[in-house]
């Protein structure tokens, strides 16, 4: 490794960062509504990819339907998590709930292996081919990567509209800020919480459906091992309560990881992207605990 490459990690970082951002938004939504760190989020990602695999390769559905099945898996997983784990544990210490979600993740991983087998599942991109050459630089960006970036932008616009223009979005924000007062004005807290979990499951599944084809394969526990930590770091960097912060954080973490991974050879330091994530997380937590765009720690 002689030259410090810039263009290649830039493309990889932006597209991975967009997927990280999607999961991070899910984490932020959950944190805003339930004050919980959601450790199942990684498996929402896996289930999205897994549902698509089941639809595409096992049931032989047309690809759009397979994707819809993947999204459905994520949505249902989010709703069930709320109903079966979060609601019974409401009003318990937050770390208890965290452990509950972690236990759920450790339940889902073997179940995925039992259903699908301990192997790599193939994932094919929405649009195949080499992709297109990025202007100026001498690197290719696949169509899939472009789609991920566009999806993040779309999700951002949708959420901005949802929280800014709809009554339901306003109800979610009100619930996160003043649960008791929200209840007094007639907002059903349980339904709002259920909605946020469903939304988080859906966002995770979107990330899974889109990201798995970039690496062309995935296995059980894929989301937990590959994206969960990055997404948490992104959410914390962004301030944990800020949706735009999660966007920025996601892109930042994606870029840092890509630069570390491509420019530091695994001979010198294996797993450079994990180390870079830890350094980044500690730097943010120790120097600016409220994150870049957060209002509270």
């Amino acid at each position: 490794m002689l030259a410090f490459s810039i263009a290649q990690p830039l493309v990889l970082g932006v597209s991975n960062g967009a997927a990280i951002g999607l999961v991070a938004i899910g984490l932020v939504l959950i944190y805003k509504s339930s004050r919980v760190f959601n450790f199942v989020a990684g498996e929402f990602v896996t289930l999205g990819a897994f549902g698509t695999y089941v639809g595409d390769q096992i049931l032989d559905l047309p690809y759009p339907l397979a994707i819809a099945l993947g999204l459905l898996f994520g949505l249902v997983a989010g709703l069930l998590t709320e109903r079966l784990v979060i609601r019974p544990l409401a009003n318990r210490p937050r770390v208890t709930i965290l452990v509950g979600t972690a236990a759920l993740a450790s339940l889902l991983i073997p179940v995925e292996i039992i259903i699908g087998g301990a192997k790599f599942f193939g994932a094919r991109p929405i649009v195949g081919g080499l992709g297109f050459k990025v202007p100026v630089a001498d690197v290719y960006m696949s169509w899939q990567q472009l789609i991920i970036v566009c999806t993040l932008a779309g999700a951002g616009l949708f959420l901005a509209w949802f929280f800014g223009r709809t009554d339901l979005g306003l109800a979610v924000l009100a619930t996160s800020q003043e649960p008791t007062a929200s209840r007094l004005v007639g907002i059903r807290l349980n339904r709002i919480t259920l909605l946020t979990w469903g939304l988080a499951g859906l966002l995770g599944a979107v990330a899974g459906v889109l990201l798995a084809p970039v690496t062309s394969q995935f296995q059980a526990g894929y989301g937990t091992t590959t994206i969960l930590i990055a997404a948490f770091t992104a959410a914390v960097v962004g301030g944990m309560t800020s949706v735009p912060g999660a966007f920025v954080g996601g892109l930042l973490v994606g870029l840092v990881q890509a630069f570390a991974q491509i420019n530091i050879s695994s001979k010198t330091l294996p797993g450079a992207n994990s180390v870079a994530t830890l350094v980044m997380l500690l730097a943010v937590l120790l120097a600016r605990p409220t994150g870049l765009l957060g209002k509270e720690a």
């Binding site: 760190f37 450790f39 079966l84 784990v85 019974p88 544990l89 318990r92 210490p93 937050r94 770390v95 208890t96 965290l98 452990v99 509950g100 972690a102 236990a103 759920l104 993740a105 450790s106 339940l107 889902l108 991983i109 073997p110 179940v111 292996i113 039992i114 526990g221 937990t224 091992t225 930590i229 948490f232 770091t233 914390v236 695994s266 330091l269 294996p270 797993g271 450079a272 992207n273 994990s274 180390v275 994530t277 830890l278 997380l281 500690l282 937590l285 120790l286 605990p289 720690a297």
Partner: protein
């Protein structure tokens, strides 16, 4: 002069108070028979079945030590670790490195694993002094993955894909003898754990768990006792790692992952019952034995589907158990083992915990 033994207020007698002052001879005999019966069942299990069962039991004892390490953090001091694969793995690789690269004895490896285990845990503890609550949980999670993806892949330290050899010490090379060694180490750890909780340190850590601010106001040295909790947890984990490595004879990085170490050990600590060391050890053994029994049970029932996936079914089952424990029975298996323990010490047999419930205490206030 007759001393009035009547309580000042009717019904003011503590529920534990026994007018006769303890069990009679028959009571003690019954307790002795119980202990002898449990011991006999264990010995029968070890000596009657093929030697591989000792290996499984040894593995259970090691899981128990690892879960006790988590219990110190989560149960006693109100901290958390989601990166225990780094704790255990660093112990295993340090011990293997000292034994096979530095040509030292197993015991030197064990000591080195304990020291390095303490060191890395204390560094994490220093972070815990600044970063609290859920955020710290996140730091430990990332630390675990740094271990998994980076430290355990450093070829000079871990021997790369081939792994690092970790031979057993002389006299303990057979599975049965090695189980003996593991049990001895577990005994020492339990003794330390008991003294830790029963003394000033235990009360200080309990105060910390309830509220660091209040503890500080009462003169508890928050800094020192937080670091002590991490040091003890790191010590247990380092020792567990060294035993883990030599049980396998060869330490490879694939063994130390989030899904194989950090999650199951945490679940064992919770289902066993936080602050219930007896429950934790018993559940660790059941957890590992279950993985061993289930394939045989499935085989005898002719269910090959389950037989081939027994480990996965056990893992999924413990996940369910953990969620149910958190929701319905915060004391975990301690609900059963704690009354037995009290009974063995001469108390009456009464079901239920002896005070604050287990999992309730895991809050870490920001």
């Amino acid at each position: 002069v007759a001393i009035d033994l009547e309580p000042a207020v009717a019904g003011d007698v503590l529920p534990e108070a026994r007018p006769h002052g303890g069990p009679n001879a028959v009571g003690w005999l019954g307790r002795a028979v119980f202990v002898a019966a449990v011991g006999a069942i264990c010995l029968y299990y070890i000596f009657h079945f093929e030697p591989s069962h000792s290996d499984v039991l040894a593995s259970g004892v090691i899981v128990g030590i690892g879960a006790l390490s988590l219990n110190v953090l989560v149960g006693y001091s109100g901290q958390i670790s989601l990166g225990h694969q780094a704790f255990i793995g660093i112990g295993a690789f340090t011990s293997a490195y000292v034994i096979s690269q530095s040509q030292q004895s197993f015991y030197a490896g064990l000591a080195a694993a304990a020291v390095v285990g303490i060191a890395q845990a204390v560094v994490l503890g220093l972070v815990a002094l600044r970063v609290r609550g859920l955020y710290f949980a996140l730091v430990t999670l990332v630390w675990g993955f740094v271990g998994e993806n980076s430290i355990f892949r450093l070829e000079s330290f871990t021997g790369g894909g081939a792994g690092q050899d970790a031979p057993r010490p002389g006299g303990f090379t057979t599975d049965r003898a090695y189980l003996g060694l593991c049990v001895i180490v577990l005994g020492v750890i339990l003794l330390i754990d008991w003294r830790l909780v029963a003394t000033k340190a235990g009360r200080a850590m309990q105060a910390l768990r309830e509220s660091p601010q209040v503890a500080a106001n009462y003169g508890v040295n928050v800094r020192a006792y937080t670091l002590l909790a991490f040091a003890v947890a790191g010590f247990y984990a380092g020792v567990a790692g060294a035993l883990f490595g030599s049980r396998r004879l060869n330490v490879v990085s694939e063994d130390f992952t989030f899904a194989q170490i950090a999650l199951p050990y945490l679940i064992v600590a919770i289902v066993g019952g936080l602050r219930r060391r007896g429950g934790i050890v018993v559940f660790a053994l059941l957890f590992v034995l279950g993985g061993d029994w289930l394939p045989e049970l499935a085989k005898s029932l002719g269910v090959t589907y389950i037989e081939q996936r027994a480990g996965l079914f056990i893992q999924a089952l413990t996940g369910v158990l953990a969620v149910l424990t958190l929701i319905f029975q915060p004391d975990g298996l301690g609900t059963v083992t704690a009354p037995i323990g009290r009974w063995l010490k001469g108390g009456p047999f009464r079901l239920g915990g002896s005070g604050a419930s287990g999992a309730e205490g895991i809050d870490v206030r920001p």
